[in-house]
């Protein structure tokens, strides 16, 4: 028997194949995450050149930070608004495009196209269109509505950021839903029809349960994505007016790279990580409860 049995060689190939991914995530994901945890225990001002161990002081500051609380509220509103609007619009569009109708491919292309427009380009265009004398208000005035100064009002700024983001990316979820809808066996609908189920009933009792794995997938992607929205905020509102659109990630950027508080910035990063991890875990657990079957 030689030392290099097929089994052993196979093991070696396995390790070699995963090595780049593994070393990469150690170097650029896991070790940096550990460093973030360490930095969060230190006072670190880049401009002042200070780096000193202060234990839990940053976390005390975190708990007392009024702006952070406002930022968490903004983040929650943003995430909730985005997920609800994105998923319901994506599902509506997918259902419409799943009808037997000529030209649905064209509409699918049109709804999907903003996904491909460069993010900052898209945001710049909306920034101009949302000005008080911009196209959005121009359109509204045709309908007889006197539009507000979208980006300067606290609630309208939040609505604007959410809507701009939803229109940009809803096409992705729409495509995923469309594929899921096309996977629902047609005989199920016919059987339900014979049993006298109306359109809404068929949608609720057949479509929704059967596409629930996709609903789970898209909601995880969308929620986690909503916590990473940076460019839109930076271009549209710079977190304003006041702190009304200062989502957590923008607050992190301000603290670390505008005010140069790296230690406190790292503390906010830890918080962001905990939130993302908790949300993902909760959603993963929930799949047993309301997802009919695994994809």
């Amino acid at each position: 028997m030689t030392f290099w049995t097929y089994r052993r060689r196979d093991n070696l190939v396995g390790y070699l194949f995963v090595a780049p991914a593994l070393l990469g995530s150690l170097a650029f994901v896991l070790i940096p995450l550990g460093l973030v945890a360490w930095y969060s225990l230190n006072e670190w001002n880049v401009l002042g050149g200070t780096f000193e161990f202060i234990g839990g002081e940053n976390y005390k500051q975190l708990l007392a930070d009024e702006k952070l609380r406002e930022s968490l509220v903004a983040t929650a509103w943003f995430a909730a608004g985005l997920v609800v609007l994105n998923l319901s619009l994506a599902l509506l569009l997918a259902v419409l495009l799943n009808q037997k109708l000529r030209g649905t491919t064209l509409f699918r292309t049109l709804f999907f196209s903003p996904v491909l427009v460069s993010l900052v380009a898209w945001t710049l265009v909306w920034q101009l269109m949302l000005q008080p004398d911009g196209s959005v208000n121009g359109l509204l005035s045709v309908l007889g509505v006197d539009g507000p100064n979208w980006l300067r009002g606290e609630s309208t700024a939040m609505v604007s950021v959410i809507v701009v983001q939803v229109i940009k990316n809803v096409g992705l979820n729409m495509v995923l839903f469309l594929a899921a809808l096309q996977g629902v066996p047609a005989p199920l609908y016919e059987a339900a029809k014979i049993d006298g189920a109306g359109a809404w009933r068929r949608f609720r009792s057949i479509t929704i349960p059967l596409i629930s794995p996709t609903i789970l997938l898209t909601s995880i992607i969308t929620i986690v994505g909503s916590l990473q929205v940076f460019a839109q905020i930076a271009v549209l509102t710079q977190g304003g007016p006041g702190t009304s659109t200062t989502v957590l990630i923008y607050y992190l950027y301000q603290q670390a790279f505008q005010f140069h508080h790296f230690g406190y910035g790292a503390t906010i990063s830890v918080l962001l990580f905990v939130i993302v991890a908790a949300l993902t875990l909760v959603q993963w657990r929930m799949r047993r409860k309301w997802v009919l079957h695994e994809a």
């Binding site: 930095y39 419409l96 903003p114 427009v117 229109i167 962001l272």
Partner: protein, 277 residues
């Protein structure tokens, strides 16, 4: 022949057309307004009263825009190819090869999905600064190849390879092909749809990167497109909207054209992967 344009279909078309407006109008407005004189940006006209193309040459005079275009393009291509390679290898090994510690290692890699790259930007900035690599493109290339987008890619590839029928590989093994040969000759060519989806995700992610460039890069000749778009200002610091829009048009339109040409493969590739993932 039956011709049937039912009321229901008319209503559907009407609804689709109305819903289309916010998706299509911004792009239309971006392209047409980039050819308007700046005084007309805030008018409601759908077309410029006089067409001006000088904004397009101004883009190149105000910024090293050709260089910036090249920066974005070559970074996105390298990141895409690199991610495809790393993800295909790891995805294949996690799906098809049995080796000790496999599950533990897979969990380690998957944690990357839970960590948005923004969380680790402070230590990574520190790392690249100590290596003297700030204001270079290295951080924008290396980090994405191994960070969260790559983990998603590994996951997609693994799901794909798991679904591949084992008989194909067994036949190849009987013919004396080693593991690497099976991967390269059999599995990889079959995985083209999944690789395509990975390529699209990765390219767009890199192309849209904004936080990382503004953190790492400081001179205009190193900037990437998203960052460059915000830099078109007149001598008083006021933004030059029409020039901005011309630059934005040049950033967006090539990708849109490629998409329209290849849209079938594009959307179906994505949808396919979504169902499997």
């Amino acid at each position: 022949m039956r011709r049937k344009v039912s009321k229901r279909n008319v209503a559907l078309y009407g609804l689709l057309c109305v819903l289309c407006v916010p998706f299509v109008f911004p792009t239309w407005w971006m392209v047409t307004s980039s050819m308007k004189p700046i005084s007309e940006i805030f008018s409601e006209s759908l077309l410029p009263s006089e067409w001006t193309f000088s904004t397009y040459s101004q883009v190149f005079r105000m910024q090293p825009f050709g260089q910036q275009y090249w920066n974005s393009l070559y970074i996105a291509v390298i990141v895409t190819v690199g991610t495809m390679a790393v993800a295909a290898l790891a995805g294949y090994a996690f799906a098809r090869i049995r080796f000790p510690g496999q599950n533990a290692l897979f969990v380690v890699v998957l944690t990357g999905l839970l960590i948005p790259s923004e969380v680790t930007i402070v230590p990574l900035f520190q790392l690249f600064q100590s290596l003297g690599l700030t204001n270079t493109h290295w951080p924008l290339i290396i980090v994405p190849i191994f960070g969260a987008p790559c983990v998603l890619a590994i996951f997609i590839m693994r799901q794909f390879f798991i679904a591949l029928p084992p008989e194909l590989e067994e036949a190849a093994r009987m013919d004396g092909l080693g593991r690497a040969g099976i991967f390269y000759r059999i599995a990889l060519p079959l995985s083209r749809p999944a690789l395509g989806a990975v390529a699209i995700f990765t390219f767009l992610h890199s192309w849209n990167l904004y936080l990382e460039p503004i953190v790492y890069l400081s001179t205009p000749d190193m900037f990437t497109l998203p960052q460059a778009l915000t830099q078109f200002v007149d001598i008083y610091g006021g933004p030059m909207f029409n020039v901005q829009l011309a630059a934005a048009t040049m950033t967006a339109v090539p990708i849109l054209v490629v998409f329209v040409l290849a849209q079938r493969q594009f959307i179906e590739g994505l949808a396919h992967t979504g169902v499997k993932g």
